[in-house]
């Protein structure tokens, strides 16, 4: 009697899992999608329309879950099980190459890149271009993502206030000083986000020492690289920004997005932000604000290369319906939908023949010329969080000077790498 009760109780959870996992393999004409957009976002609308058209054109039933930005985070654990809950998973290039492909969960998309875009002559690979294809490839060589949208950073400003834009950093500083003389605090900056505070140093560094030089710093186990004169130069430029009185009072004591709101309100002139900025601040921007952006000006005659993130889809190795998933990828890359990426979602498409929204047209031109860096290759997120970001915060907030910064970077980098054994 007692045994029987115990046995039936033990069987309960097993029965429950059996019910939950079965059933997905049978329905071939179904495409399950986990999207990184949330219901109501412009990007969601673009995708939803494409899914509807895809259903009509192919008869495949599309079941989308609008998961929001944590789609990949929630998806990864399912790779440990026999069945995955989606045939298409959306995310940025780093998530798909470093996490999804690194976990051996990603199907190689070489055949998708070789296929032609639905109803067009060019192949997917030609349409996407080599730079983004490289970014979609994991360090193990798996082509894990099909990107459709790119974002980068730019100096945003009100097109009505500045008819011309500075090309060199010196020109830019001159503009800043003029605005300051008029009693303005010209630079918006959300100091509560360490990643945003580090961008100045990074771009100065990339311009002065080149991408190779910049990328060599963080992995340097001795930490001595941070003592190079080029790093000091970059840090001194940040120090000059910090001490120049360009940022609004209390910019480091307000919660994001307070400072970006102030910028949109016309309280400061320039803001270095992602190309998604116009969409983010649109609800509270001052009426008539004409969003325009220019690329980071050149330093000592060299413009820093651009940091780029791509958004796109991957297909799990264990997908129940990979064929429908692949078909959708060639379908969504059609000009019609990519025009919507620019026109409806106000983002930049991977396609060179899709003009960007005027807000970011300058940046798109720079991207199409291909000066894209490889910031996505090295995974230095732990190092950045623990060593670089805290010190770069102090540098930008004027708590430490440039020389102190480089010295502490050298010491703390060495300590960091020592702790890794």
């Amino acid at each position: 009697m007692r045994l029987r009760i115990a046995a039936s109780l033990l069987a309960l959870p097993l029965a429950a899992t059996a019910c939950g996992s079965g059933g997905s393999g049978e329905k071939a004409a179904e495409l399950r999608v986990w999207s990184m957009w949330s219901e109501g976002e412009p990007n969601q609308k673009v995708l939803a329309e494409a899914f509807k058209d895809f259903e009509k054109a192919t008869g495949v039933k599309v079941r989308v879950q609008w998961k929001g930005r944590t789609a990949m985070k929630s998806f990864l654990p399912s790779l440990n099980t026999a069945n995955v809950p989606a045939d298409l998973i959306e995310g940025n290039n780093r998530e798909l190459t470093r996490q999804f492909a690194a976990a051996k969960g990603a199907l190689d998309l070489s055949d998708v890149y070789a296929a032609t875009v639905q109803g067009e002559q060019a192949t997917v690979g030609q349409t996407v271009g080599d730079a983004y294809k490289r970014m979609a490839t994991s360090s193990q060589g798996v082509l894990a993502q099909l990107p459709y949208q790119v974002s980068t950073y730019g100096w945003f400003y009100n097109g009505k206030d500045f008819p011309t834009t500075p090309k060199t950093w010196e020109e830019f500083v001159k503009v800043l000083d003029e605005r300051k003389a008029q009693g303005r605090r010209p630079l918006g900056q959300d100091g509560s986000i360490p990643n945003y505070n580090m961008r100045y140093l990074e771009h100065f560094g990339r311009a002065i020492m080149g991408d190779e030089g910049w990328h060599a710093l963080a992995p340097d186990k001795s930490g001595q690289g941070w003592l190079k004169p080029e790093v000091l130069k970059a840090a001194q430029m940040v120090e000059a920004l910090a001490k120049g009185g360009y940022f609004p009072d209390g910019f480091n004591a307000a919660k994001f997005p307070a400072m970006q709101q102030k910028w949109a309100n016309g309280e400061s002139d320039f803001l270095y932000q992602g190309t998604y900025l116009p969409k983010e601040v649109a609800p509270y921007a001052k009426p008539g604000l004409e969003f325009r952006a220019f690329r980071f000006p050149s330093v000592e005659g060299k413009a820093p290369t651009m940091n780029v993130t791509t958004t796109g889809f991957g297909i799990p190795v264990k997908a129940a319906n990979p064929d429908a998933a692949k078909k959708f990828l060639t379908f969504f890359l059609q000009k019609k939908y990519q025009d919507n990426v620019a026109g409806v979602a106000l983002e930049m498409s991977v396609r060179k023949d899709v003009p960007a929204a005027p807000q970011v047209a300058d940046l798109k031109a720079a991207l199409d010329s291909g000066e894209i860096n490889r910031s996505d290759v090295l995974d230095m997120s732990d190092f950045n969080t623990k060593v670089l970001l805290p010190l770069s915060d102090q540098l930008l907030f004027g708590k430490i000077g440039a020389a102190d910064f480089t010295k502490q970077m050298a010491e703390q980098s060495a300590a960091y790498w020592k702790s890794k054994g």
């Binding site: 990864l76 470093r98 919660k255 230095m380 997120s381 960091y416």
Partner: protein, 316 residues
């Protein structure tokens, strides 16, 4: 009449040794089946995951794919990591400083409110912060404590020319601690007041006749008679403080980014390992931090019980 009681303990028959009548025996047989469901659930959702966490802490694991045995490497790395030192110091500050502030406030309010008219209403007001989720408070405080926020507007109108920058990096952790104090003080005050309410009035009346002031009455009557409750509260606080997480994360982090390392606690450290803002998850070190938190909780609980138990509980 008292045959059962007078019967000397029988040692011979095994059946009797297991205890009494056939009814008792039947009842005992049923304990197992009745206990089993709860035990199973507990094992499934508590014990098994805890054991797995300990196991993962000895491995390198990205959350998916194969685990790689790492021995004590995660623990070694954690101890050598200066950020872990900061997280440890912050957790201890919350445990000790915020804990002390919460208990002092709760004692003071208990003492003040004990004889107050309308204390039920006051108690409700004091308890209110505990009803609002910490997350909501953390978000609202961001606006309230902005350099141009309500708090500083009020201070400026009171004639303070340069009100503090509450959310500046150097003040942030103090602000976090103040927020946690405010959130927790109400809860403990209400628990203390409930404990104080159980104490019969005549003790106080007698003490008053003997000429005892409010402090003396608190020291000699209230405190000893609610000692057991204080002990439980101290344990609860220790456990809660070691697990401090969401308040810091929401108060200082933004969408998709972690708070600055100067504000990290044990739990934030573990979270940052498992969910880095932009990199490969490291469940090994996250689990190691969790295991350490668990161990510290056990040690602290035992310690607090010891310290609190040393004082004889008064029964009068």
């Amino acid at each position: 009449m008292t045959a059962v009681l007078e019967r000397p303990p029988v040692k011979a028959a095994p059946r009797s040794r297991r205890g009494g009548s056939p009814f008792e025996a039947a009842r005992r047989r049923m304990i197992g089946p009745f206990l089993l469901p709860a035990l199973l659930v507990y094992a499934l959702v508590m014990i098994v995951p805890s054991v797995i966490t300990v196991w993962i802490s000895f491995n390198e694991w990205a959350g998916v794919g194969a685990m790689e045995w790492a021995g004590l490497a995660n623990y070694r790395e954690m101890v050598a990591d200066p950020v872990f030192g900061t997280s440890f110091a912050n957790t201890m500050k919350i445990l000790v400083l915020v804990g002390a502030a919460v208990f002092v406030i709760a004692f003071t309010l208990t003492m003040l409110l004990q004889d107050m008219v309308g204390r039920k209403f006051v108690r409700a007001v004091i308890f209110f912060p505990s009803l609002v989720p910490g997350l909501v408070i953390a978000i609202l405080w961001g606006f309230l404590l902005d350099p141009d926020g309500l708090a500083n507007s009020v201070l400026k109108s009171l004639g303070i020319a340069e009100p503090p920058l509450w959310l500046a990096p150097e003040n942030m952790f103090t602000t976090v601690m103040a927020g946690m104090t405010w959130l927790a003080a109400g809860t403990y005050t209400v628990i203390f007041m409930a404990a104080a309410d159980r104490i019969p009035r005549y003790f106080y009346e007698a003490a008053e006749l003997d000429g005892a002031g409010p402090l003396t009455r608190f020291w000699h009557i209230t405190l000893p008679l609610m000692w057991d409750v204080i002990g439980v509260c101290a344990v609860l606080w220790a456990i809660g403080a070691l697990k401090t997480f969401e308040f810091v994360l929401v108060f200082a982090g933004a969408t998709g980014s972690l708070p600055p390392t100067g504000l990290w606690t044990f739990s934030v450290y573990a979270y940052a390992g498992a969910f880095p803002s932009d990199g490969v998850p490291r469940y090994g070190i996250a689990s190691a931090a969790a295991v350490l938190t668990m161990l510290l909780t056990v040690v602290l609980t035992i310690l607090v019980r010891r310290v609190m138990g040393r004082r004889e509980q008064a029964t009068y």
